[in-house]
């Protein structure tokens, strides 16, 4: 009988440890002295079953499962583990939300790994923040420069046009007032002003950089600097168009002043020299008349310089009336003048000068005699081997012959 009771209890204990489900113990089948032990084992069964359910929940990460009974001491350490897992879950959420101050204590290797992780995250975040601040500062500086550049670009008088090299669309124009798409036919201002817009749109030179000029008196003059650029990943031509009309006028005025004799308004020696160099270079046929106003020194000495100037003016006027506007008439010195005729021959020129002299003398109303001497040289461009200096010397020599005759005549008439 004792043996049967012990066997029954042993089998029950074995079942608690190894069976699932556990084979139940019927305490009433035990003899009275063994029933207390049977009840104890039944309590153990409950504690083990509870522990198994609890460990199953924890092993599957279910932290919201049923808690074991408070007095189930088999689960004491599991409860501690459960509490730690709850805490770690909360900490993981806080770390995910950016709180890297989370710290785990007294969990051995896990603590070390977790704390290293949060420390590194904190360090990386600090570095990232530092980098972000640096990038932000750089971006602010670039934005500032960009604003300045845009301001400078839009306020410039020049046109800055960027034309897509393939589609020929105008992708940028600094004269554009808003963000609307640019009219490929140019907006009103450019269409009106830039008569050569088609040339800009269809520009197709392979050169990297070119400066060219366009325009006329009516439309105005423009200097265009064109170069190849890459605009938003596409090849494009940048054209910087500058209105140089005023500059050109100013330059022309300056040139005109440089080539003009202020006393008479006709062109001067500098113009004569440059003009003759060009004539000789192009091997053009010309007739050069070298003239010297007789008695200018006498008039200046006797009647004063203003009368001398009037004498010169009357001579210039007489020449201008007598010669064609296509002939170049220049003052090359105080009383020396030159006429460069593009057409005609020496003899005809001499005759015209003789007629002019005759008429000049005849129509004189001044209180002194007027006269001029002249020498004529004919140059056949293709055959000519003389330089300007030699030509002038030759004409001067011929003029001097004339002067010798006129001089005597002039002094007789004083």
């Amino acid at each position: 009988m004792e043996k049967d009771n012990c066997e029954m209890l042993f089998e029950y204990l074995k079942s608690i440890l190894y069976d699932s489900p556990i084979r139940p113990l019927h305490v009433e089948e035990l003899d009275a002295p063994y029933r207390k032990l049977g009840l104890g084992l039944q309590y153990l069964q409950k504690a083990v079953e509870e522990m198994q359910a609890y460990t199953k929940d924890l092993s599957q990460g279910n932290l919201s499962g049923e808690f074991p009974a408070r007095d189930n001491f088999l689960c004491a350490n599991l409860k501690n583990l459960h509490a730690n897992l709850n805490h770690l879950t909360w900490q993981a959420k806080e770390v995910a939300a950016g709180d890297y101050s989370q710290h785990v204590s007294y969990l051995g290797e896990f603590s070390e790994a977790f704390n290293t992780m949060t420390a590194q995250l904190k360090e990386r975040e600090a570095l990232l923040k530092e980098e972000t601040a640096r990038v932000q500062k750089r971006a602010e500086v670039i934005e500032g420069y960009n604003e300045l550049l845009v301001e400078l670009t839009t306020k410039r008088n020049e046109w800055i046009l960027v034309v897509d090299a393939n589609s020929r669309d105008i992708v940028y124009c600094n004269k554009r007032k808003d963000e609307k798409k640019i009219d490929p036919e140019f907006c009103h201002i450019c269409q009106h002003r830039l008569s050569f817009r088609n040339k800009i749109l269809n520009w197709q030179e392979s050169g990297q950089y070119k400066v060219w000029e366009m325009g006329d008196e009516e439309q105005g003059f423009y200097r265009i600097t064109t170069f190849l650029i890459e605009w938003q990943g596409r090849n494009a031509y940048a054209h910087i168009v500058v209105d140089i009309t005023d500059d050109k006028k100013a330059a022309d005025k300056l040139t005109s002043k440089a080539y003009c004799d202020p006393g008479t308004g006709i062109q001067n020696r500098l113009f004569f020299v440059e003009y003759m160099e060009k004539v000789l270079e192009e091997k053009r046929d010309i007739v050069l008349c070298y003239m010297d106003l007789d008695g200018l020194k006498y008039v200046n000495d006797r009647f004063g310089h203003s009368e001398g100037d009037a004498y010169i003016h009357s001579f210039v006027e007489a020449v201008q009336k007598s010669f064609r506007s296509m002939d170049v008439f220049v003052r090359i010195g105080g009383d020396e003048f030159c006429i460069v005729m593009s057409e005609g021959e020496k003899r005809a020129a001499e005759k015209r000068l003789a007629d002019l002299l005759k008429d000049f003398v005849k129509t004189n109303t001044r209180p002194y005699p007027v006269s001029f001497s002249y020498g004529v040289v004919e140059i056949e461009g293709k055959k000519n081997s003389l330089g300007l200096k030699e030509i002038v010397t030759m004409a001067d020599a011929r003029m001097y012959e004339c002067k010798k005759i006129n001089k005597e005549q002039y002094h007789r008439n004083i």
Partner: protein
């Protein structure tokens, strides 16, 4: 000797006066004391109060005393200007340094202000036998005092699990008083 003129009209001493002690007063023994001594005082006091005033009264006295200590602790030993998470991290560090226990947060609802936290290796109850009832009433008050001082509004904390009820940590559920 007669009356001490210097002590006449002096104000009633408060907790802060008692805490303003000179550490050098224990020049040889230092400022640590064994856990057994702390528990001897706590549980003898607990027993006496229960016997004299009843269980409910004893619990209320422990909670109120703990609350005073919690407020003092927060105001004098913690930085209440920190953000909530930083404050809790500071509280964890301080509690470990002073060997009060290992504080861990299980849940924190920032909208409602409700917190579930655990204290393991708690100075009051860790290692106690199964008594079938929670014993950390002083801790309940201590935690509500700390949270009230930090949050700027009244908090209450209730112990829901305890070593003495078979757990291995003390679990407190705290929230603003309605």
């Amino acid at each position: 000797m007669g009356d001490n003129i210097f002590l006449k009209n002096s104000k009633k001493p408060e907790l802060s006066d008692y805490m303003n002690f000179n550490v050098q007063g224990r020049g040889n023994l230092g400022d640590d004391i064994p856990l057994a001594v702390y528990r001897l005082m706590e549980f003898s006091l607990r027993e006496q109060l229960m016997e004299q005033l009843g269980r409910e009264e004893q619990i209320q006295i422990f909670r109120k005393a703990g609350y005073r200590a919690g407020v003092y602790f927060a105001e004098n030993m913690l930085d209440t200007s920190l953000s909530l998470n930083e404050f809790i991290a500071g509280l964890q560090r301080r509690m470990e340094e002073l060997k009060i226990g290992v504080l861990r947060v299980e849940k924190l609802d920032k909208e409602t202000g409700k917190i579930v936290l655990t204290v393991s290796e708690d100075a009051d109850c860790s290692g106690l036998p199964l008594l079938g009832e929670t014993v950390c009433n002083y801790d309940e008050g201590f935690i509500s005092g700390i949270l009230s001082a930090y949050m700027g509004k009244e908090y209450s904390a209730v112990e829901i699990d305890c070593w003495a009820t078979g757990d291995r940590v003390c679990r407190f559920s705290a929230g603003p008083k309605e």
